[in-house]
C-alpha cells in the first residue's frame, strides 16, 4: 500500500476528489479485459486532467518509487492496464477532449481519453475518418489504441495505428514532458520516437496528446460474401486477390467451426458444409468500387469459390456483415470461456497455418474456431471451453504453446493486435532472440531507469519498489 504521505502528494497534484483509494475503486481500476488474469488491485487511482499533472505524478513516482500504470478504457486483452505490482493506476478518463479537427491538413489533435467512436463521429462530420478500427472502437480510447498499436479489419488497406500518428505529446518515465514527431507527413529529425512509443504498452511514456492523420471518407463501398468448400482454396484466393493489385478495405475470414457456431446461434443462411467464407469489402470512388468488385468476383470464381454474393445496396452489405458480427456472441454461446489468440502469418503461409491449427486443436481435443482479418494474415484462434477445469486448462496451455511455435516457424508473429502485456510474456522468447530482447530491455532501462512505468509488462522486470510500496 502507498503511504499516506504519498497519497497526500497525489491529492496536491490532481485534487483530492480525483485520487481514489477506497476498496471499491481499487477493484474497479484493477482489471482490464484480459481473460484468466489473476486478480490485481491498484493502491490508488488518479484522474489527472492535464499533461502537467501527469508529469507531476510520474515525477513523484520516481521520487518515491511506486509503479504508475496508464489506463484508458481498460479494454486491453493482454494485461496492459493491470496494476500487477500495485501502485497508482493513472486513468485518462478526464482527458477526453477532441482539441481540433484540422480540415486543412487532414489531422486531428486529441487527448488520450477520447473514445475512438467519438473521434470517428466528429471526423465524419467533415467527410473524414480515422483509419484504425479495432473491434472495441465503440468504447476503447485513442490513448490505448496508440499504446497498444491497435489494428482492425481496415488494416489490410490502411495499416495499423502507427501509420496514422504524426506527433505525440508524452510524459516520459522520468517525468519529462516531450513532444515527438511533427504535424507533417514527413519528418526525419532524429530518432522516430513516435514509432517507439506507439505500441510500447505504457512502458516508455504516458501519451497525453496525439496528432493523428485523418483520411477522406471513401465515396462508396461494396461487399462480397464468398463461400469456399475447401479452406486451402480460400487461402489461395486471398493471396491471388492481393497479387491482382486489388487492395480490399477489409478481408475477413471465418472457418467452418466459426460458421457452424454462427448458424447454431443466429442463423444467417451460411452453408454449414463450407470450410471457409470470406467477406471482402472494397472502397473508393463509384467507378473504382465497381471495377474492383468485378475483379474480386472474377478472382474468387477462378479460385474455386462455391458461391459469390455481391452486395446490391448498403443495407444488403450490412446484412452480409451480420454473420461476421455474430461470430463473437455465437462463440460465447458454444463455450463461454474463450481463449483468443491473435496470431499473424505471412499471406503465403496462410493455408499451412490453418491446417496446422486444425491439427493442434484435434491433438488436444479442443473446440476451436478461427476467424479474423485474414487480408493482413491476422487470425483469431479461439479455443472454446465450457469450464476452467485444471486438466482442460493445461491442455489449452500446451495447445497455445504449440500454436505460437507454429506461427513463428511460418515466419509470423505471436501477436498481431493484442500486445504482449503479461499474457504473452512466456512466449515472447519464441519470437525474439536474445539479441533483440536485450536491445529492447536496454531501451526500457535507458528511458525508465527506476522502472516506474507499467513495470512487469512486455518483459518480466524485477525491480523492488521498496520505498513506495510495502510487501
Amino acid at each position: 500500500m502507498l503511504e499516506r504521505k504519498i497519497i497526500g502528494c497525489l491529492e496536491d497534484i490532481v485534487g483530492s476528489e480525483y485520487v481514489k483509494t477506497s476498496e471499491e475503486d481499487r477493484v474497479l481500476y484493477g482489471y482490464d479485459a484480459t481473460p484468466f488474469a489473476p486478480k490485481t488491485l491498484a493502491d490508488a487511482v488518479v484522474f489527472p486532467s492535464t499533461a502537467d499533472e501527469v508529469a507531476e505524478v510520474v515525477l513523484l513516482a520516481n521520487q518515491y518509487r511506486f509503479p504508475v500504470v496508464p489506463r484508458g478504457a481498460g479494454s486491453n486483452l493482454s494485461g496492459g492496464a493491470r496494476p500487477i505490482r500495485g501502485g497508482v493506476v493513472l486513468s485518462t478518463q478526464r482527458m477526453a477532449e477532441i482539441i481540433e479537427i484540422d480540415t486543412d491538413n487532414l489531422q486531428a489533435r486529441v487527448q488520450p481519453g477520447v473514445v475512438n467512436r467519438d473521434l470517428q463521429l466528429r471526423a465524419q462530420q467533415h467527410g473524414l475518418f480515422f483509419a484504425p478500427d479495432p473491434q472495441s472502437l465503440e468504447f476503447c480510447t485513442i490513448g490505448g489504441n496508440l499504446a497498444e498499436n491497435a489494428g482492425g479489419p481496415r488494416a489490410v488497406k490502411y495499416g495499423v495505428t502507427r501509420q496514422h500518428v504524426l506527433a505525440i505529446q508524452a510524459v516520459l518515465p522520468t517525468g519529462g514532458l516531450a513532444r515527438f514527431g511533427a504535424r507533417t507527413i514527413k519528418s526525419v529529425a532524429g530518432y522516430d520516437m513516435v514509432s517507439l512509443l506507439v505500441g510500447s504498452e505504457g512502458t516508455l511514456g504516458v501519451i497525453t496528446e496525439a496528432t493523428l492523420r485523418l483520411l477522406p471518407l471513401p465515396q462508396t463501398r461494396s461487399t462480397l460474401l464468398v463461400v469456399f468448400d475447401k479452406v486451402e482454396a480460400c487461402a489461395r484466393a486471398v493471396s491471388k486477390t492481393l497479387q491482382a493489385k486489388v487492395i480490399p478495405s477489409a478481408l475477413e475470414f471465418m472457418d467452418q467451426n466459426a460458421i457452424r457456431c454462427v448458424e447454431a446461434y443466429q442463423p444467417s443462411g451460411l452453408p454449414t458444409g463450407a470450410e471457409a467464407i470470406l467477406l471482402v469489402e472494397v472502397d473508393g470512388s463509384n467507378a473504382d468500387v465497381d471495377e474492383s468488385s468485378k475483379r474480386v468476383e472474377k478472382i474468387m470464381r477462378s479460385s474455386q469459390a462455391a458461391a459469390v454474393t455481391r452486395s446490391t445496396s448498403p443495407e444488403h452489405a450490412q446484412a452480409l456483415w451480420k454473420a461476421r458480427q455474430a461470430v463473437g456472441p455465437s462463440l460465447a454461446r458454444i463455450g463461454p470461456i474463450k481463449v483468443n489468440e491473435d496470431v499473424v502469418v505471412p499471406l503465403s503461409r496462410l493455408a499451412e497455418a490453418v491446417s496446422g491449427i486444425d491439427a493442434i486443436s484435434k491433438k488436444y481435443r479442443l473446440a476451436c474456431a478461427c476467424f479474423g482479418h485474414v487480408g493482413d494474415g491476422n487470425l483469431h484462434v479461439n479455443f472454446l471451453l465450457n469450464d476452467n477445469h485444471p486438466d482442460l486448462m493445461e491442455r489449452v496451455e500446451q495447445a497455445v504453446g504449440e500454436l505460437f511455435a507454429l506461427v513463428v516457424s511460418l515466419q509470423g508473429s505471436i501477436t498481431g493486435e493484442h500486445g504482449v502485456g503479461t499474457s504473452k510474456q512466456p512466449y515472447l522468447s519464441l519470437e525474439l532472440g536474445d539479441v533483440q530482447m536485450d536491445a529492447m530491455l536496454r531501451v526500457k532501462q535507458a528511458l525508465d531507469p527506476l522502472g516506474v512505468l507499467n513495470p512487469g509488462k512486455i518483459f518480466p522486470i524485477d525491480k523492488p519498489f521498496d520505498q513506495g510500496t510495502v510487501g
Binding site: 477506497s22 471499491e24 472495441s136 463473437g328 460465447a332
Partner: protein, 427 residues
C-alpha cells in the same frame, strides 16, 4: 424468496469477461465516465462482495443503487450477461442484511405498495407542500428529495385525481361474445392519469371486448422489487394474482395495462417471486401468459394491415414516441406503439433522435441519484425539443414522470401522455 437463484447469479457473474462493451451504451457510465457506473464494474464489485472480499460500504451501496436496470448493457454484451437481475439480487441481499437505507425500504417497501397509506401521503404532501416546504429545514434530505433538486429547482409531480380510479364506481357495457380483458391500472392510472385506463376501456368497448377492472388490485410491486425488498414485492404479487386470476372464478383471456413496466413485472417477476408457493405457482404462470402491454394488444386485436403515417397538417398536434426500456428491451416491442400512434387520425407523428435511450428514471434511481437522473434525461429532452413534437407519448409510468419533470424545467408546454391516452384523445 429470491427471484433468481444464487447459482444463476454466480453463473451470470462468471459470464462477464470485462470486455467493456457496456461502456458504449450504459447511460450512467456515459454521464459519469467512471468505472463505477458501468455494468462490468458493478458485476466486479458484486462478485467481490459475494466472495466476502468486500464489505457493504456506503461506496458499494451507492454503486449498486446507481443502476437504471434499463438492460442496455445486456443488449450489447457478447455474453448477454443479465446485469439487471444480478443488481436486483445484490439489492435484495442488502435489504436482507439490513444494509439498505431505512427510508428507502419504508417508502418503496411499505408506503408505495399500500393502497391506504400512499394516497394519504401524496395528498398530504401536495396540501402541505407550501406550508411544509417553508417549515422543513432546507438541508433536510426529505425536503431535498421531494421538493427540490440539487440546483434548487422544483420537482414536477402530476396532480392527483379525486377520487382515485379504482375507488370509483364503474359500469362497463360488457360484451360476452369477444375476448375478456382485465385491466391493470398501475399506480399512474389509479392515482394520476386515469385517462390512460379510460383509453384502454374505450378501445375495448369500441371493439366489443369483455372488460374487468378488479378493484382489489394494487401496485405491481416493481418499485419494491427494484430496491431489493422482495418480501413486499411478493406480498403485492400474491395480492395481484388473487385479484386478476381469482381461484375458482372465470379468468380473463388477456391482462393489459397502460404501463409496460407494470406489465413486465406481472409477466416476469411475479411468477418468479411466488414460484415457491405451490398453491399459486401454476396460477402465476397462467397470469404471466395472459399479460400483454397495451400497444401490443391493440396491434394484435386490430391487426392493422399496414399503417401509413397520416398526412401531417399544421392543425394537428405532433406526437413523438419515447421507447420505455421495459417495452423495447423487456418485451422487444418497438413497432406496435409506433403503428398505434401513426394510425391516429387526430395527430401527426415524428421520430425523435435516439428514442430507445433510457430516460434515466430507473425507479428508485431517480430518488437516490436525482441530479444524475436529470442529467441523463437531458439528452432525451434535447431529442424531444429538436423533434419539434407537441406531445411526447410513452408507455411507462416511470418514463412519463421523468419526462414530465425534465421537460417542466425547459419547456413545460410539451405534454407527456401514455399510448392509451393518445388513443383516447386522437383516434
Amino acid at each position: 424468496m429470491s427471484a433468481v437463484s444464487q447459482s444463476e447469479i454466480a453463473k451470470q457473474l462468471d459470464l462477464c469477461v470485462k470486455c467493456g462493451a457496456c461502456m458504449a451504451v450504459c447511460p450512467v457510465y456515459l454521464a459519469q465516465r467512471h468505472e463505477r457506473g458501468v455494468a462490468r464494474g458493478k458485476l466486479a464489485l458484486i462478485k467481490e462482495r459475494e466472495a466476502n472480499h468486500l464489505a457493504a460500504t456506503s461506496g458499494y451501496m451507492q454503486t449498486i443503487n446507481a443502476c437504471l436496470l434499463c438492460g442496455s448493457c445486456t443488449q450489447s454484451c457478447p455474453n448477454q450477461v443479465d446485469t439487471k437481475s444480478v443488481v436486483q439480487a445484490a439489492r435484495a441481499r442488502l435489504v436482507l442484511d439490513r444494509k439498505s437505507s431505512r427510508i428507502k425500504r419504508f417508502v418503496f417497501g411499505r408506503l408505495l405498495p399500500s393502497r391506504r397509506l400512499w394516497p394519504l401521503v401524496l395528498k398530504g404532501l401536495r396540501l402541505g407542500r407550501v406550508v411544509w416546504a417553508k417549515r422543513v429545514p432546507a438541508e433536510s434530505g426529505m425536503y431535498l428529495r421531494l421538493f427540490r433538486d440539487g440546483s434548487g429547482r422544483r420537482r414536477k409531480i402530476p396532480d392527483l385525481v379525486a377520487p382515485f380510479f379504482l375507488d370509483r364506481k364503474h359500469v362497463f357495457e360488457n360484451h360476452t361474445d369477444g375476448a375478456r380483458v382485465a385491466v391493470f391500472t398501475g399506480c399512474l392510472g389509479n392515482y394520476m392519469h386515469p385517462q390512460a385506463v379510460e383509453g384502454i376501456i374505450s378501445f375495448l368497448q369500441r371493439n366489443r371486448y369483455g372488460i374487468q377492472v378488479p378493484a382489489a388490485q394494487g401496485c405491481c410491486g416493481l418499485a419494491a422489487f427494484g430496491v431489493g425488498d422482495n418480501r413486499a414485492a411478493r406480498n403485492l404479487a400474491v395480492r395481484n394474482l388473487d385479484a386478476l386470476l381469482p381461484a375458482g372464478a372465470a379468468w380473463p383471456d388477456y391482462i393489459t395495462t397502460p404501463c409496460a413496466s407494470c406489465a413486465y413485472m406481472l409477466k416476469n417477476h411475479l411468477p418468479e417471486l411466488i414460484s415457491d408457493d405451490p398453491q399459486r405457482a401454476e396460477r402465476a404462470k397462467e397470469l404471466a401468459s395472459r399479460v400483454v402491454p397495451f400497444s401490443r394488444l391493440w396491434e394484435q386485436m386490430c391487426r392493422p394491415a399496414r399503417v401509413v403515417a397520416a398526412e401531417n397538417t399544421s392543425k394537428k398536434p405532433v406526437l413523438t414516441y419515447h421507447d420505455p426500456c421495459h417495452l423495447s428491451r423487456g418485451f422487444g416491442e418497438k413497432d406496435a406503439p409506433r403503428n398505434l400512434l401513426q394510425s391516429l387520425s387526430g395527430a401527426g407523428f415524428v421520430e425523435m433522435e435516439h428514442p430507445c435511450k433510457c430516460c434515466g428514471h430507473g425507479g428508485s434511481f431517480n430518488i437516490s441519484n436525482y441530479d444524475l437522473s436529470l442529467e441523463i434525461a437531458q439528452k432525451k429532452v434535447d431529442g424531444i425539443l429538436s423533434s419539434g413534437a407537441d406531445v411526447v407519448v410513452t408507455e411507462c409510468s416511470g418514463c412519463l414522470l421523468q419526462l414530465l419533470d425534465a421537460l417542466a424545467k425547459v419547456k413545460p408546454d410539451i405534454e407527456v401522455i401514455t399510448t392509451a391516452e393518445s388513443f383516447l384523445r386522437y383516434s
